[in-house]
Symmetry: C2
Subunit: 356 residues, 2 copies
């Protein structure tokens, strides 16, 4: 999960405080996405070898990761890791799928407000909702806790089953302003291959994201092959109660847990309970997760996806409002972490580019 | 997780509020365990058939459970459940291992206080510690939030790694006052077989316990074959920080989550994120877990272990201070839940009885 340069609102009654904190500078940036140029399609050779990481160039990142996996799965080798201990954790936003121009979960929240508006005529004249309905994000941000209110209202007041349905409906219909693709098509093909490759080598793959766990669960299994019970994320409080006589879990407008920065090792501990062997992130919001992973005994690997491709994706790091990466670039190499240069190490970005 | 008849202390700064609430009536009951009579050994016949549930008599409970498993795993059958959806959740105290005369985690807490006492000379004259050191549980209970203090002090102030080591050391050395066995030997042989049987049928087995998740993780994998990432339990707050320069998760004396009663569906949702297909419990603390499991669409099964064997284990239900079971007995059968009569349906209780 990415990190913002300056801390934003920390209003407590929002389901995804991390997201909000990270988005509060949006008012000052252009909310209209720049058009993504038509990607340069790279078709793998017809008679390609059985390379599980086909979309990766034979660069230093691929080499280091494969070497590590071979080392930790070679029986009787000095760095062999027992299958039960092979845990690989992945951030989501910016690591497994894109995160520009705004976190996709924020796009979902804005669309929810628009969908809910007919039942709330008062929103036409009440900020921050008025701003959302008029596409005026500056007005939203100018409202105290404006985005926090948007997140809370759009993410609560329903049961967990109802919320999952809303996410599914949105994912099947909404499209990204730049690529015009569904958001779950904007996952990174090289990372899909990495997930499959690691699982084939006995690694259990988990998501550890600052995003909301309930926003991810409905679509992540089909998209990444990661089941709901292997997703760690930020959480809203939920309450068990009978709703219309049916036992239900009702989502409350309060944050239960923020799975970002120093929260990531906590989330890993709460849900997984083992120190991971490998951790993949892309921003300083992942720093503590990589630190926690790689500071334990035994073979450990930290990997940072560095967004360097301004043509096929977005290029950003130290100065970005979303997915800021500075400390990771400064300290990562010294800590032995692998920095993936997206532009030079990835043959394609999205799965749909392989078809072109 | 068992339930007490009357709510006990709800002091917030304890790592396992559920345990404490459930134990607050201990002052009025005899803390000295009754000796367990030598168990009547039941040796399975030498040429036993390949029955995965060998320690179960061919009673109604075994029949109902096996019938359900066959039904949900028969391809193309009307009640077939896809492998990814086969989630079976188990309470721990009183369901997978024993819970008398006090929750084993409370025994651990009392032993921790004794081990820590040399560094705290003031405890000799300060309740509730004085009571623990003198074996005077009535004095502990007479102190406001006495047991809560014991739980908080015994369970915090160390890192998660240090705490896991303490649990391991205790489990390897401490013995139960009645059986003189290590606590992790007092698991139920028929339930071990049930876990193995379900896993062999594609069910993923989880623990969902009111006990502390960090108290379970160190020994559960070896004992039950359930990995740390499949354990849901009550949690203390932890904080990520450098301790002596080492990135650590430090345990705080505050409750983060109580996985009991209506908390169990919440815990299931937080960590697993799917509605279970099967749920096993033994007390009214498990009622909501069974209700949540069995009120969803599709084939679902709830199972209650009823402690009916005063000779080989303990017989208790409606009037028990620990593991109270009343609503489950009243409503369970009407809801289609299976009630396991331990005395009549289990050939042996503990694994060590099979050796005798």
């Amino acid at each position: 999960m990415p990190s913002a340069r300056t801390p934003g609102s920390s209003h407590p009654s929002i389901p995804t405080a991390a997201l909000v904190a990270l988005c509060c500078l949006l008012a000052s940036c252009n909310a209209t996405p720049r058009e993504t140029p038509a990607p340069a399609a790279t078709t793998p050779p017809a008679a390609a070898p059985a390379d599980p990481l086909l979309s990766w160039n034979d660069g230093p990142a691929k080499k280091a990761i494969v070497e590590f996996v071979v080392r930790t799965t070679t029986p009787n080798g000095p760095d062999f890791v027992a299958p039960a201990e092979r845990i690989a954790v992945f951030d989501n936003d910016g690591t497994l799928w894109a995160e520009h121009p705004i976190y996709f979960q924020v796009a979902f929240a804005l669309d929810r407000i628009k969908a809910m508006a007919p039942s709330h005529p008062e929103w036409k004249s009440k900020q921050p909702f008025k701003g959302v309905l008029e596409g005026d994000m500056k007005a939203v941000m100018a409202t105290e806790h404006g985005l926090a209110q948007i997140m809370a209202v759009s993410h609560s007041g329903n049961t967990t089953d109802e919320f999952a349905s809303l996410v599914n409906e949105w994912m099947a219909s909404a499209t990204h302003p730049g690529t015009k693709r569904h958001y779950n098509e904007m996952v990174y093909q090289p990372m899909l291959e990495m997930l499959t490759y690691l699982r084939a080598n006995g690694y259990k793959t988990f998501i550890v994201s600052g995003g909301g766990v309930e926003f991810m669960r409905p679509w992540v299994e089909e998209t990444y092959g990661i089941p709901p019970e292997q997703i760690v994320g930020s959480r809203a409080k939920v309450k068990y109660e009978a709703k219309d006589g049916v036992p239900s879990l009702v989502r409350l407008p309060d944050v239960d847990f923020v799975d970002d920065k120093a929260g990531k090792p906590v989330g890993i501990h709460q849900v997984i309970g083992r120190r991971p062997t490998m951790a993949f992130g892309n921003s300083d919001g992942d720093f503590e997760m990589l630190e926690w992973t790689t500071s334990a005994k035994g073979p450990r690997l930290g990997v940072i996806v560095h967004h360097t491709d301004a043509v096929r994706e977005w290029a950003y790091d130290r100065e970005s409002h979303i997915g800021q990466l500075a400390r990771g670039l400064d300290e990562g190499p010294k800590r032995g972490w692998v920095i993936v240069d997206m532009k030079n190490e990835w043959k394609v970005i999205y799965p749909f580019q392989r078809m072109m």
